[in-house]
Symmetry: C2
Subunit: 335 residues, 2 copies
């Protein structure tokens, strides 16, 4: 059995903050990322929580991220906010953008935020959730270095590009959260199998010639299988249009990797749309949302997207989060 | 070989218009639907072109659609347009909404259109394409009577709910068009197999107990398989949130069917988002879009979503469209 230690969410946040600052991140840039790290652990997505802190620290040290970046916010049209993340952490750029996006969406009925010159934003649902907590429908899109090939092709042109939707409940929480990538499986799972020298199941990856393989290393040199075939390519392309072409960020096809120390800043992007659903629905949104959620919940065994994370979050708030002891040791050594 | 006749696009439009008006549709309501019918035939989507005219006529006659409806447009917030389609054709409601949406999106940088009390809007890409032709990124969503069950459940709760994205080229055309449903295959294909008494391939439908079946009738009483499993449910749910919950329209779980004469108006909805991508990208959009399209096209055999429809459209403009002669006879008999 793996040794673990139980931490409160504020202990996780402090730990992440201290490690980031020790590596040379400014406190203003470290705080939003530390908060997101605690929220990610609360949601039960351990792969993207504290486990990423050593990578973030390495990326500050090698210059893939500028820990001291000062993101620039602009307001080029009444309902548009843009942020140049200046190759700093995405989280600070998104935080600064949301400060203006949220009141603007309430005033205008809809507003968008385009972030470029950015970096891996971690779990997308952590960001869209905040829009829902502010009473807005939140839509988020982020691009990543290319790993999905076009239908009929073999060379990756778009990332596993996730999107996330979060719907506001009547009580200041996210009533529903969708957060899914365009591939059948997360690339991190393939990398884990490669590290452990284990074959992957059929349907996860294709080799460099576009042929099915169970060899994770061949898959990492080839491409990820898009979820639902050409429809997964359509999702990845939609997200690429929003997060890269519509923000002026670097396309996944030419972006430097999110892992390792080579290639400099990836300069990828994020796009968010915030809409006041009571305005667009003429005041019917909460009633319709409740009926839609009931249609799922009233069936025995049926799963509503986001339910797993929601129950993890409720549990974490009172019981804390169990963290791998070896990982904790590595993070504490960074401080 | 099936007998066909070649018609120009304006002949198709006139035929559709005359049949709709003969059934009691007002000219203002018939025109946008006739134009969309010609555009749909031009795009090569014969299943949703003239083939739908007899169904539309039947639905005007039985009251599923009010052919004389007067949609009501409102502007509840600076960047939001809403249209109550008043149980009329979706096309007129969308037309009236777009008249205000397009200039508003250019002024504000982004604007949205929510349509409720609506009806089947036909091919969604026909609508988003118009936003791209106006120089905007167009996003469209429409809901349909439920036919997809939740993961772990068997009873349909959301429709095959398509979404469509259209990107503006620099020349006033749609440079790229994505238009895809949340199921592995269109429901109309299953209905066609049922009519012809042929089994469907595995992976298209599930029976009423949620079990795989190749019997199309069992599938029509059960549910459609979501594309990519739970991720397809996530797409259908996203579209349901936008097109129904956020417009105040009827949820797919309780909407009357789009086929047959029972149940009265379905009162489903549409949602459109229009964004000026040159504003959000700081003027880099066309360059990024061209690079993204090249990344697909530079690979032998790779397919870019929308290429098939685009070449059909170019061909149709000069050569006209070949239409099934028996269908033409049926449509002409309606006039």
């Amino acid at each position: 059995m793996t040794a673990t230690e139980t931490l409160t969410l504020s202990e996780i946040e402090s730990l992440a903050f201290d490690a980031l600052v020790a590596a040379g991140t400014s406190p203003e840039n470290a705080r939003p990322l530390a908060v997101a790290t605690a929220m990610t652990e609360a949601d039960g997505v351990a792969s993207h929580g504290l486990a990423y802190i050593p990578i973030y620290v390495q990326h500050v040290e090698c210059g893939k991220v500028d820990g001291q970046a000062n993101p620039k916010v602009a307001h080029p049209r009444p309902a548009v906010i843009t942020v140049d993340a200046a190759t700093g952490f995405a989280h600070r750029a998104i935080d600064l953008g949301f400060e203006q996006l949220i009141p603007l969406a309430k005033e205008m009925g809809v507003a968008v935020l385009a972030v470029n010159n950015s970096y891996n934003c971690g779990v997308l649902g952590v960001h869209t959730q905040r829009l829902a907590q502010a009473g807005l429908m939140g839509f988020g899109f982020t691009n990543a270095p290319a790993s999905i090939a076009p239908s009929g092709g073999a060379k990756p042109v778009v990332g596993t590009n996730p999107f996330s939707i979060s719907a506001p409940g009547s009580d200041g929480t996210a009533a529903l959260l969708i957060d899914q990538s365009a591939s059948t499986i997360a690339k991190s799972e393939v990398m884990k199998h490669a590290r452990e020298g284990k074959p992957v199941p059929q349907g996860w990856v294709l080799d460099a010639d576009g042929q099915p393989t169970t060899d994770p290393d061949a898959g990492l040199k080839g491409s990820m299988v898009p979820s639902g075939g050409y429809k997964g390519v359509g999702i990845a392309l939609t997200v690429e249009l929003l997060a890269a072409a519509m923000t002026g960020a670097t396309l996944g096809a030419v972006a430097s990797p999110f892992s390792g120390t080579a290639g400099g800043p990836p300069k990828t992007g994020q796009f968010f749309i915030a809409i006041d659903p009571e305005v667009t629905s003429g005041g019917l949104f909460q009633e319709k949302l409740a009926d839609l959620i009931s249609a799922f919940r009233d069936q025995d065994g049926a799963r509503l997207p986001g339910d797993g994370r929601q129950s993890a979050r409720l549990r974490a708030a009172t019981e804390g989060v169990s963290v791998n002891a070896a990982l904790l040791e590595r993070v504490r050594a960074l401080i």
